[in-house]
């Protein structure tokens, strides 16, 4: 997949709340927002202003788009958990309330040119953006399998949809209340073998994305990961949502997950260095420009072919890790 932007520019609109409903441990909000719905590609997100016009909560809350539908001119649905005052306010909205929403934002999941066996791996409400992707992949002749995991049954999102629309659907819960007991990585190798997976799309907590990438890498399977970084604006101006990603030139940069992501090639994200500035990152303290390395053909997540498990020259950061990240690095709070 090339790095050109195929997505259209986002819109900023007043969306009208159609429904807010409880779905087990989560909430699903459906907004009438035709301009956002029309531009949507799977993997993109919306940034929503919360608290009302006089609010003291100034930062937007970002949510991956679960699905869009043509009803009412175009609706957008996203899934969230209550993690703080902003999401609590959202959960209290009712039909006909209006919300300032910007979107769709971010880079969508790249889709392969040729039909492949795609495995969609979701953790918690991270599975929400995968279903629209699954539809799109099936429309292009791909086989879609699902592997969803969460702490408990009420935290798995979309198990029924996965079973209905996927060729196969494997569910794991850490407490064993639904599906197999354990984490998605416990069954990943087995699913990959049985499904003859060519490419993995993953969304969920950062630890899960890292583990999936490492494991898939052993089999030479490319991973497209939708990362979860705290955002303030969602539009690319505040510079808070950065993480270290290796570029095509081999140079690590602190890139914004809202404009350069939220979807990244898993093998290019320096998962272990999230929350630090790797000493070899562009512009890190003491960084000096290196002469360019011998040009390599840029590895791409080609359909149907296995790319060699590229290590992208992972360098261990010598910087002490910064203090533990605030308990949640969630997109919405």
């Amino acid at each position: 997949m090339t790095s050109e932007r195929l997505e259209s520019a986002p819109a900023q609109v007043k969306g009208t709340v159609l429904t807010v409903r409880r779905v087990d441990a989560y909430y699903a909000m459906t907004l009438i927002a035709p301009e956002v719905a029309a531009r949507f590609r799977p993997g993109q997100f919306v940034a929503v202003a919360v608290g009302g016009p006089e609010t003291s909560m100034l930062l937007r809350r970002a949510f991956s788009i679960h699905q869009v539908r043509p009803d009412h001119g175009g609706t957008v649905e996203f899934v969230f958990a209550i993690a703080g005052p902003g999401t609590r306010w959202l959960s209290e909205r009712r039909t006909r309330d209006t919300l300032d929403v910007a979107g769709p934002l971010g880079r969508a999941f790249p889709v392969p040119r040729d039909p492949v066996n795609a495995l969609l791996v979701g953790g918690g409400y991270g599975s929400a953006p995968l279903f629209a992707l699954g539809d799109r992949l099936r429309g292009r002749g791909c086989t879609v399998d699902y592997l969803l995991g969460a702490a408990s049954a009420d935290r798995v999102f979309g198990a029924l949809t996965a079973r209905r629309s996927g060729r196969s659907a494997v569910i794991t819960t850490e407490d064993g209340s639904l599906g197999a007991r354990g984490q998605v990585t416990d069954l990943l190798a087995q699913v990959i073998h049985e499904a003859r997976t060519d490419v993995i799309y993953a969304c969920g907590p950062m630890g899960m994305l890292r583990a999936v990438t490492v494991l898939a890498g052993r089999y030479g399977i490319p991973v497209q990961a939708l990362v979860e970084e705290s955002m303030a604006c969602g539009t690319g101006v505040c510079m808070t949502c950065v993480l270290p990603v290796v570029g095509e030139d081999g140079v690590t940069r602190m890139v914004r997950s809202c404009v350069d992501g939220p979807v990244f090639r898993g093998d290019l994200v320096r998962w272990d260095d999230v929350g630090t500035i790797p000493f070899d990152a562009l512009g890190a303290p003491g960084w000096k420009p290196r002469p360019p390395a011998t040009p390599q053909p840029a590895a791409r997540p080609q359909a149907g072919g296995r790319q060699p498990g590229s290590k992208a020259g992972r360098v261990r950061s010598r910087r002490p890790r910064a203090g533990p990240a605030a308990g949640r690095s969630g997109r919405g709070r």
């Binding site: 303030a232 303290p285 960084w287 203090g323």
Partner: protein, 310 residues
């Protein structure tokens, strides 16, 4: 500065205009004040870099940026091609770095003004922030003013974290600043009561947003009173046209909008409209007529004060 309207983006809140241009025409606001650029590319600080606070936020971005080469090659030409006016913010760790940046900008065409971000640690003086010391501030402003082309105004961006902002302002003016920008952020921090640790990886960060607007108004008031002929770019928690009017009444000739952009990407053109409405409803024809008006009792009457909160 000749601007079509007095509303600018605040440095650090609008990149170099590209992202916001998806939401509105950047040529329609007074100017884009670009994120502070340094000589070399800069990675910024580790995450978490922000925390939401009541009516505001803390940031510890750490001046992440592409460096002056990429800025001049890519960012500035893009802005100018869109017909926007560019006020370029520069930041350095030594006086020499500021001088070099000033010289580089002087060669570039199309720069409306230079805003000198002196809220940076001076590595040659125990990491003391330039803006907290009159002598250090003056040293930077002097070399910048000397190297920037004569027809490009130089604004010194002041920090509120000082005992006497008028003294800093005076030092900058004496060193040749054509104008003053204020205020930068206030130093603050937050502690996460779940993890029991500082929220920011950098521990402390800059506080911005409506919570600091009264500090901005106070600083602008004090500096304008001391230097009524020095143009001020005022900023700090402006969210509406009414807020912009308040800062102008205190003495700001133009107003930058920062944190509000995170809440509302269209904040700047909205505030341009709202300010026009605020002025029109008071029968005021030109925004320039209200600059510093609060210092002159009885000139124009607005709403009668009732003595109770709205």
């Amino acid at each position: 500065m000749e601007l079509p309207n007095p509303i600018l983006t605040a440095s650090g809140c609008a990149g170099a205009g590209r992202e916001l241009s998806q939401f509105f025409d950047v040529a329609k606001i007074g100017a884009v004040v670009t994120k502070s650029v340094m000589l070399a590319p800069r990675s910024g600080r580790p995450t978490p870099r922000m925390a939401e606070t009541p009516s505001g936020m803390l940031n510890s971005i750490g001046l992440q940026g592409p460096g002056i080469d990429a800025f001049l090659r890519r960012d500035l030409p893009w802005l100018l091609a869109r017909g926007a006016r560019a006020v370029v913010s520069i930041a350095g760790s030594t006086v020499d770095e500021y001088a070099e940046l000033a010289a580089r900008l002087s060669d570039a065409s199309g720069v409306t003004a230079v805003e000198v971000n002196i809220s940076c640690p001076n590595v040659e003086d125990r990491g003391q922030v330039f803006a907290c010391d009159p002598g250090a501030s003056a040293a930077v402003i002097e070399v910048v003013r000397a190297r920037v082309r004569y027809d490009i105004p130089v604004f010194a961006k002041l920090s509120p974290d000082v005992t006497d902002i008028v003294a800093i302002a005076g030092a900058c003016v004496a060193a040749g600043a054509d104008g003053l920008s204020m205020i930068n952020t206030l130093l603050g921090m937050a502690i996460d009561t779940t993890t029991l640790r500082p929220v920011l990886a950098g521990v402390t960060g800059g506080l911005s947003g409506p919570a600091i607007r009264p500090v901005a108004v106070r600083c602008i008031w004090q500096v304008h009173e001391a230097f009524p002929d020095i143009p001020i770019i005022g900023m700090g928690g402006v969210r509406t046209g009414r807020d912009a009017l308040e800062l102008m009444l205190a003495g700001a000739a133009t107003v930058s909008v920062g944190t509000a952009i995170f809440h509302d990407p269209s904040a700047c053109p909205r505030i341009v409209r709202e300010l026009e409405e605020e002025l029109a409803s008071r029968g005021i024809e030109r925004a320039a007529d209200v600059v510093g008006l609060a210092h002159e009792p009885g000139r124009l009457t607005g709403q009668r004060r009732t003595g109770s909160a709205p």
